[in-house]
């Protein structure tokens, strides 16, 4: 029996940010039993059905090793709701003693009390959507929090005994390289042991994409993005963090996000909540997106699945290369198809793969290789 990770998607936000294309809703009242107040009960019903469906298919899990409340803004729900969902999960499958239980949070959606309550209820880790420390950048991103609040929220969380991670976004239109420096430095000044930094991707169906098309915002420049990534990496490294995935840094291996590593290593996970994805031994399934529809299906005793796919063996190999190459441990060279292996030396010579690691039989990206990870992956997959 293998360990299980559980992702719980909370599709509610106070405000919809202009760059966001996630499945999230700002209304508190959604019809058909899909509103925030009914969310925890729905999620728990889905856990029951998922467990039954896994068992029917012959899959059973001894322990839950990680749980991740993502969103949306999970902390928009009362802390008791999150704790209740966790408690319910525990009744279905025991949590490992060292289970990593993370929730995402907005700096302005927590209080000292709510964080204590979460910690007391079993949450071990909180990941704050800090995004930037520069007010003008936050405004472009439609983020409502006051940057001053971040250090305070981090301090409260640490006082409560939680591990803390901060999420940053770089490459927002109008953001200077100095802005990035300020943001990274103030994140690190909070004394966090984990940091994620994502380049802003403007998806086609977002408000920001429309602003871009109207010429109200300037399109991100890939060279500028590269400069900013390198700056983030320099500052994080100087502070004693090291990268363990293209967009993630941790102070020690123990402080890496085990939940995310589970995704990248292809283990099984549940996806609970509207629009959530799950993976079970090559079977990927994803839920219907709208909370009302989600609630209605659960009310009928149905799994709220929109669709699924069985990933073919060759595609599983593609996924494995695609995901494992992005992590610092890299990928065993023998996983790469024989006819693609000559490209390893080519990318080593171009400075994209670490020569020492390659001699030891592993494909590990260098820093310039991380920035070109997709190009390297395209050359290595079957």
């Amino acid at each position: 029996m293998s360990p299980l990770s559980v992702y719980i998607h909370v599709p509610f936000c106070a405000v919809r940010c202009g760059y966001c294309d996630f499945n999230t809703y700002t209304a508190t009242e959604l019809g058909g039993g899909g509103s925030q107040a009914e969310y925890a009960a729905n999620a728990m019903r889905e856990m029951d059905l998922t467990l039954a469906s896994d068992r029917a298919a012959g899959y059973d899990y001894e322990r839950v090793s990680t749980v991740f409340f993502g969103g949306g803004t999970p902390t928009l729900l009362p802390a008791d709701d999150l704790v209740a969902m966790l408690e319910h999960l525990r009744t279905l499958i025991p949590l490992a003693d060292d289970a990593e239980i993370t929730t995402e949070a907005n700096p302005d959606s927590v209080t000292r009390a709510s964080l204590s309550r979460l910690a007391a209820g079993g949450i071990t880790r909180v990941s704050f959507g800090m995004q930037s420390a520069v007010p003008s950048v936050l405004a472009t991103l439609d983020r409502t929090h006051d940057p001053e609040k971040v250090p305070q929220a981090v301090a409260w969380a640490r006082d409560a005994g939680l591990d803390v991670s901060l999420d940053l976004i770089y490459g927002t239109p109008g953001e200077t390289i100095e802005d990035v420096e300020i943001s990274v430095k103030s994140a690190l000044a909070c004394g966090v042991d984990h940091m994620s930094a994502y380049s802003l991707i403007i998806e086609g169906n977002t408000a920001m994409a429309r602003q871009l098309r109207r010429g109200e915002l300037e399109a991100p420049d890939p060279d500028d993005m590269a400069d900013k990534y390198e700056l983030v990496d320099d500052l994080a490294t100087a502070d004693g963090l090291s990268w363990y995935e293209v967009s993630n840094w941790a102070r020690t291996p123990a402080q890496r996000s085990r939940h995310n590593l589970a995704y990248w290593r292809g283990t099984d996970w549940w996806g609970i909540g509207p629009g959530a994805h799950r993976h079970r031994d090559g079977l990927r399934a994803w839920n219907v997106k709208h909370p009302s529809r989600y609630a209605r299906m659960l009310g009928l005793g149905e799994m709220p699945v929109a669709d699924s796919e069985q990933v073919a063996a060759e595609d599983r190999l593609v996924e494995r290369i695609m995901l494992e190459l992005r992590i610092a441990d890299g990928l065993a060279a023998e996983v790469i198809p024989v006819e693609r292996r000559p490209m390893l030396a080519v990318h080593r010579d171009r400075g994209h793969l670490d020569p020492v690691a390659l001699d030891a039989g592993r494909a590990v990206l260098t820093r310039s290789g991380r920035l070109l990870a997709d190009a390297v992956i395209r050359d290595l997959v079957p």
């Binding site: 995704y263 959530a276 994805h277 993976h279 994803w286 996924e319 070109l372 997959v381």
Partner: protein
């Protein structure tokens, strides 16, 4: 519409094919610029002479190919026999439709050679154009009797007085003797036909001599094989004769012989001075060559008629299917077009940039454009063509001589001299643009041969210009510098030694064959800079820096750099992103497969196509009728 007596076919016993006396025959063609109304006038003649009934009439009856009808140009000529009565005497008129474009000068000259006279048809609102003038001179060289006619006199903008004076002077007649017609309304058309009978000489071949008939056109028909149009000069052909092609000595059986009026009518034969068609069952127009002389196998003529020559391509271009899997379709399509186009030649060509295609030889730019358009339209192909190139003779220092039709075949080694084809070009232009045209011609290495005023404000400029300059972008520039008023005609007239060099475009030191060009040394730098800039814009950044260089031999004359791509990574990849990301990856891999590799540089074919396409538009635009 003026009424002239129409003759029912069964009433015209004295002008039956194969038994019409030569004095009752008149053979003529119409020389006109593309949109000056030749086809409309021809339509009106068909109607007035009654050989096409009103209800069967369709616009431009004689133009058979869609593409001809659409563009209002005639590529393949045809002949129509029309009855006409003057003063109670029946005559048979043969109208031979001539191609109207410079690319087909040889075909024009053979059509002219089949006639005793020509109608010079000029738009009364526009005056004569350069190509018409060139064909007029050609007709005069053939000693044809010229009937000058102004068309479109019904147009509000018509200036018949002005243009009558102009063409009167050219042809050497009093302006009052220039006829005025409207093909559209029919005004003056009957009078014109009367005039044809009255002023054109009748043919005067030797009736009893061995047969000599000249092929002035040959057309492939899917159902009937090759239909050959002929003008009999001496003797006659009978439907049971066996015939010889005098250039090759090949024998053929006659399956059918007849006249067109305008639908084909089989006849017992074709007599001296007459025009008609014959069918032998051959399947390829190359076996029935324009200009060749036909005689009877028994008691045949010893000497062929003068003026035959093999068609010689002047312009070469690579044609490549945009979708590489269309290559066999392109090959079959060219094979089919060849059946109907004796001047089309091609051989397979492989390009690193564009894949598999053909190097195709054309008579000129219009020919290129027509062939390309037919391939695309009739065979549903999407094609890219490389910049047209002329044929160079390269003399090496070791004394060997190499013919170069493709810049990428340019020989390596020490070159002694390069010879390029030159043209005699005629440009007609309003006098206010003389300076602009002279400046342009000078920049295109032209030398002025002479200048004449056709009228107070129109000038004929004669230049010697390298053909390579004309096929590059001369016509576009000429039109833009003269606000569209200039007209151009050119004819390849010889060759000259010139200081030419081959410029290669290199991507990371690898030559990109499709962009090599042979240019004058003075222009090599400009070409290199321009092309390098264009490629820099079109080729996506790679994982490494890519130099783009223009080189003459080993010497680099221009350089641009495509900076290395620094970021190609999706920063987020969590649980829900995995499927999407894998599918994106598959898509990108598919895209990668369509890339062309120049060394290790991956270039989307679209980039090459865009780089070649932006050079397009160097075809004479007046070949298109809007």
């Amino acid at each position: 519409m003026p009424v002239s007596p129409r003759i029912a076919v069964d009433e015209a016993r004295d002008i039956l094919p194969a038994s019409t006396p030569q004095e009752r025959l008149r053979n003529f063609c119409i020389i006109a610029h593309i949109d000056h109304g030749k086809s409309t006038l021809a339509d009106r003649m068909l109607q007035i002479t009654g050989i096409v009934e009103e209800r069967a009439m369709r616009a431009q009856y004689l133009d058979r190919m869609d593409i001809e009808r659409e563009r209002g140009i005639t590529v393949k000529s045809q002949a129509v026999r029309m009855p006409w009565q003057v003063d109670g005497v029946n005559f048979a008129l043969n109208m031979i439709d001539t191609p109207g474009h410079v690319d087909f000068t040889y075909e024009v000259s053979r059509s002219l050679a089949a006639c005793e006279g020509a109608i010079l048809l000029v738009d009364a609102a526009q005056g004569i154009e350069a190509q018409t003038l060139a064909n007029l001179y050609l007709a005069m060289e053939h000693d044809l009797t010229i009937i000058p006619v102004l068309n479109k006199i019904d147009l509000p903008g018509a200036e018949p007085e002005k243009y009558a004076a102009e063409i009167g002077q050219l042809v050497g007649v009093d302006p009052d003797d220039v006829l005025r017609v409207s093909g559209k309304t029919g005004v003056g058309v009957s009078e014109l036909l009367d005039h044809v009978v009255e002023t054109l000489p009748a043919p005067h071949g030797e009736v009893d001599a061995p047969c000599r008939a000249m092929i002035f056109d040959s057309v492939y028909d899917t159902y009937r094989g090759v239909v050959t149009y002929i003008r009999v000069f001496d003797g006659s052909l009978k439907s049971r004769d066996r015939i010889d092609m005098m250039s090759t000595g090949a024998h053929h059986e006659l399956l059918e012989i007849g006249v067109s009026s305008p639908e084909p009518h089989p006849t017992p034969g074709i007599g001296p001075g007459e025009v008609g068609y014959l069918i032998t069952g051959v399947k390829d127009v190359r076996q029935s060559k324009v200009g060749d002389t036909i005689t009877t196998s028994i008691r045949g003529a010893q000497e062929a008629l003068e003026g035959y020559s093999e068609p010689k391509p002047m312009v070469y271009s690579g044609l490549f299917p945009i979708d590489g899997s269309d290559y066999p379709v392109l090959r079959d399509a060219l094979d089919k077009l060849k059946l109907n186009d004796a001047s089309l030649i091609y051989e397979p060509e492989t390009s690193t940039a564009l894949g598999f295609g053909f190097r195709v030889g054309f008579l000129g730019l219009l020919h290129l454009e027509i062939v390309r358009e037919r391939l695309e339209r009739e065979f549903n192909l999407e094609l890219i063509s490389t910049a047209p190139s002329v044929v160079y003779q390269v003399m090496m220092e070791d004394g060997t001589e190499v013919e170069v039709m493709n810049p990428s075949d340019f020989p390596v080694g020490k070159v002694d001299s390069i010879t390029e084809p030159i043209t005699k070009a005629t440009i007609l232009v309003p006098s206010e643009f003389i300076g602009a045209v002279m400046e342009l011609c000078q920049s295109k290495r032209g030398s002025l041969g002479g200048m004449d005023y056709l009228s107070e404000d129109r000038v004929e400029l004669r230049y010697t210009l390298p053909l390579a300059e004309i096929v590059f972008d001369f016509f576009d520039q000429l039109k833009s510098k003269t606000r569209g008023y200039a007209s151009l005609d050119y004819d390849v007239s010889g060759s000259q030694v010139a200081d030419l060099v081959k410029v290669d475009m290199l991507l990371q030191s690898e030559p990109v064959d499709a962009f090599s060009a042979i240019v004058h040394r003075d222009k090599a730098y400009n070409y290199g800079v321009e092309m390098a800039g264009k490629l820099k814009k079109l080729i996506p950044r790679q994982q490494f820096e890519v130099p783009i260089q223009a080189a003459i031999g080993a010497r680099i004359i221009a350089r641009e750099n495509i900076r290395a791509m620094r970021k190609d990574v999706l920063s987020k990849c969590y649980g829900g992103d995995i499927s999407r990301k894998r599918k994106l990856l598959e898509k990108q891999k598919e895209g990668k497969k369509r890339m062309k590799n120049i060394g290790s540089v991956e270039v989307p074919q679209e980039a090459f196509i865009a780089a070649l396409s932006s050079d397009e538009g160097d075809m004479p635009k007046d070949a298109k009728k809007k």
